[in-house]
Amino acid sequence: MPTPSPAGHPIVVRLLEAPFQPLELLDAWQRSREPSMAVQAAESHFIGRVRPTTASGAPLEALELEHYPGMSEAQLQFLAEACAARHGAGAVLVAHRVGRIAPGEAIVLVAVQADRRGPALRCVQELLEDLKHHAPFWKREWSGGSGTWVAGNTPL
């Protein structure tokens, strides 16, 4: 359930150990928002999926996501609250997979509600970049039976 932050921006953070359907999660989040909140005119979404090749172009068997339990949730919450406050966004949903993820499966979902399209779009993009660089997650690519830790983020 949404937790009102001190600044008044309802933030939902979910770490998921099993595959998830982004549209189902979005639907549940939108329904949870309706009873208590004024309608927000703008809503922006980003869904990230595991690409089927490694950084070196080999076929990917799976992506393994390690994280720092406790700090990862707290850091996502902190980054989402800060981003919502900067842009005056009304509500934020962040879902992130951990564990072993197959090519094509969703790995991250970011959704932002705001009064205008600008804040909604900007907050989604900024929060995505923030979490890629400042939330303790590490990717390992599995290909040909061996795992390689990913050295850095892909270009924007």
């Binding site: 996501l65 994280h67 700090m71 992130h96 790995i107 991250v108 660089h133 303790p136 830790w149 983020n153």
Partner: protein, 87 residues
């Protein structure tokens, strides 16, 4: 002052992640700080992880990012984090 250097016999919990954990061969240890070990950077040296904490490695104390020269206190959880690759 609310923040003081750990006494020489202070014990901290150290955690390593991902590539750093595999290079070191361990992921979590209770460490008794040696004399002269006052900060996360000192702890890095005490654990023979290297001379200085590389700029690519980030430090977290009690699950919040911190500067490597932050003084440690007994009971702290100190983590060394390799480059982050989430999303």
């Amino acid at each position: 002052m609310s923040h003081q250097a750990a006494p020489p016999d202070g014990v901290v919990r150290v955690r390593l992640f991902a590539a750093l954990r595999e290079q070191a061969g361990w992921g979590e240890r209770q460490i008794r700080l040696e004399a002269g070990t006052a900060s996360a950077a000192d702890l890095w040296r005490q654990l023979a992880l290297g001379a200085d904490v590389p700029t690519t490695i980030r430090v977290a104390i009690n699950q919040a990012f911190a500067a490597p020269d932050t003084p440690l206190r007994p009971g702290d959880e100190v983590a060394f984090l390799p480059p982050i690759t989430g999303g």
